[in-house]
């Protein structure tokens, strides 16, 4: 049951081979057993989960079940969920029981899915190792001395350790793809604007995008069918026709090679200095596998991608510094216990409520927006952002998808990069450009590197090309079994 696909779980539920309550309890028991070691969840509420499971069972009994009805999912703690503690990994929201549902949460609720719990994350999604969470670091299920990646580290660990059927993440600079890579699972960051950001606690509004994290591309497609779609409450949500993200996967291929005609672009900048050898090797084998599936390979260049880290570390902190101003101890969240006056209340509440990395980024953002620096930093970064996006537009004249490593290394040790923010920032070097351009990107397992840690293959598509990307990943997963490997001892 734990290794079943979402489709299989849905079928089993609808056939009443298992009830949602039983399945939910199964996961809750596993969580009780394994979460203390992994710390993948911040909040569990078995009562609420089981109540949802009972509703799902009633819906199944009434013959009104959808594809995901009754399946237990975990939700990244960045999504506001009514009645659930929603912390965003921060002390600032240690007592914030959300009075409303995020769009993504409503979509899962409407589909009859069960919310198993809220997963751990870097504080306000700022981090690449899950070490900035106020609720403790998450351990990588493949090696508990190592990080799971971040910021959706709790989700990645929970999915890898089979502590949920699948789960949600968000990705501002790689926060779905990098932890997916480091934990050996699949994750998709959709085109910006495809999934509503309503109710998703903002980090960098122009880059943030929610997406699914699961054990296979097939599962991701089913989740996308629930998560994606226009929402009038988000001005940046795109008005597009509803689409079936599994349509390419479901197209029957009659004989021959399934990916014949597919042109894969390999950016030379993604295979240059800074990439660990073990990761390069796994990615190259994956490309070789793709050739076997009928794809051809084109060498491309993304000349401005080297600037994506500096551009990102101007734009994202700038937006974040403003987005996080609402956390002031007035209407909700943490308020310092002692203060002398209003200014002191603000300064102490924020100093005590935010962790070091969040404060660091607020300060970077405040600085780059402040008087006299705006043009040199913020405006310059926005201009280079366009150059970075244009690189992709050029590249897609020559290829259909772009592939490369998701992360320059496999999971590093807990604490290894703790004191050096710059080293940590550089671990997002291959993922950030995708957010800056607003393109869809995914990561799928493609083997193991040194210390037997998983390696992720990044697949970057053109705008709105998720269905094709999912099929490209799916064909690889039909031909290989990296995605179905599970960590030992769980």
């Amino acid at each position: 049951m734990l290794n079943s696909s979402l489709q299989q779980l849905g079928a089993a539920l609808r056939a009443k081979n298992i009830s949602s309550v039983e399945l939910t309890q199964l996961y809750l028991d596993r969580i009780a057993q394994h979460n203390p070691g992994l710390n993948a969840y911040i909040t569990l509420n078995p009562e609420m989960s089981l109540a949802q499971a009972r509703e799902a069972d009633a819906r199944i009994a009434a013959g009104k079940a959808g594809a995901l009805t009754g399946i237990p999912f975990a939700q990244k703690d960045i999504f506001c969920a009514k009645g659930w503690l929603t912390t965003c990994g921060s002390k600032m929201l240690h007592n914030f029981v959300s009075p409303y549902d995020a769009h993504v949460i409503s979509q899962f609720n409407d589909a009859g899915a069960v919310n198993l719990g809220k997963t751990n994350m870097d504080e306000f999604a700022m981090g690449s190792s899950n070490e900035t969470s106020y609720y403790g670091t998450v351990k990588n299920p493949w090696d508990t001395a190592r990080v799971p990646g971040g910021s959706s580290g709790g989700t990645a660990a929970a999915v890898a350790a089979r502590l949920c059927a699948a789960a949600t993440g968000t990705d501002t600079g790689g926060s779905i793809r990098q932890p997916a890579a480091l934990c050996g699972i699949s994750g998709l960051k959709p085109t910006y604007g495809v999934v509503s950001r309503y109710g998703m606690i903002a980090f960098a509004s122009s880059l943030d995008q929610a997406g699914p994290m699961a054990r296979s591309a097939e599962d991701l497609a089913l989740m996308m069918n629930v998560m994606a779609g226009f929402d009038e409450r988000d001005s940046t949500s795109l008005q597009r026709d509803k689409e079936d993200y599994a349509r390419e996967i479901n197209k029957s291929v009659s004989g021959g090679k399934p990916l014949t005609g597919l042109r894969i672009g390999l950016p030379k900048e993604f295979f240059a200095e800074g990439l660990d050898g073990d990761v390069a090797k796994a990615v190259e084998s994956a490309i070789a596998e793709y050739r076997k599936l009928g794809a051809s390979v084109v060498d491309i260049s993304l000349p401005n991608s080297r600037l994506s880290v500096p551009v990102y570390y101007v734009l994202a902190p700038a937006e974040a510094s403003s987005n996080l101003s609402r956390f002031d101890g007035v209407r909700y969240g943490y308020r310092a216990p002692e203060y002398s006056d209003l200014a002191d209340m603000y300064e102490k509440s924020r100093a005590q409520g935010f962790g070091a990395e969040v404060k660091r980024r607020i300060m970077i953002g405040t600085y780059v927006l402040s008087h006299g620096y705006y043009d040199a930093y913020y405006l310059q970064a926005q201009k280079i952002r366009r150059l970075i996006a244009q690189d992709f537009t050029e590249a897609y004249k020559q290829c259909d998808v772009i592939m490369g490593p998701t992360s320059p290394s496999t999971a590093f040790k807990l604490g290894e990069k703790g004191d050096d923010p710059v080293q940590m920032y550089l671990s997002d070097i291959y993922t950030i450009a995708v957010n800056l351009a607003g393109l869809p990107g995914m990561s799928i397992p493609c083997g193991f590197g040194a210390n037997n840690m998983p390696v992720g293959l990044q697949i970057i598509g053109n705008y709105f090309d998720e269905a094709r990307m999912l099929n490209v990943a799916h064909q690889y997963q039909l031909a290989t079994d990296w995605h179905s490997r599970a960590p030992q001892g769980l």
């Binding site: 007592n95 914030f96 029981v97 009075p99 085109t191 910006y192 604007g193 122009s206 009038e232 001005s235 940046t236 795109l238 080297r306 600037l307 500096p310 551009v311 570390y313 101007v314 101003s325 002031d328 101890g329 007035v330 209407r331 909700y332 969240g333 203060y339 006056d341 209003l342 002191d344 209340m345 603000y346 300064e347 102490k348 924020r350 100093a351 935010f354 404060k359 660091r360 607020i362 300060m363 970077i364 405040t366 600085y367 402040s370 040199a376 930093y377 405006l379 310059q380 926005q382 201009k383 280079i384 952002r385 366009r386 150059l387 996006a389 050096d420 923010p421 710059v422 920032y425 607003g438």
Partner: protein, 95 residues
């Protein structure tokens, strides 16, 4: 690029973050390192390039001017640090 203590103090004040001297000094050194990373970007020639604020070139959608929100004061204030008579209380505001 190296930031001065005064730069960091000013930023901390603007961002409403209480910081003691040790924290200011630590932040100064880390932020300087980060700005070294960012500095690479400043040499790029961007003359004639339009800044990109959004991933998609789409115009703002407009909402009909109709009331859709009901009073939820009770639910919202149940999670507030301090309220009285329906008001959020803060230390005295001096104008």
């Amino acid at each position: 690029m190296s930031l001065t203590t005064a730069d960091v103090q000013k930023v901390a004040r603007l961002a409403r973050l209480a910081m003691n001297e040790t924290e200011i000094e630590a932040a100064r050194s880390q932020l300087s390192g980060i700005f070294d990373l960012i500095a690479e970007m400043q040499a790029v020639d961007t003359r004639g390039i339009a800044p990109m604020s959004h991933a998609q070139d789409v115009a703002q959608r407009l909402r009909e001017d109709k009331v859709t929100e009901a009073n939820q004061r009770e639910a919202f204030q149940a999670i507030a640090p301090q309220v009285e008579a329906g008001l959020y209380l803060v230390p005295q505001v001096i104008e």
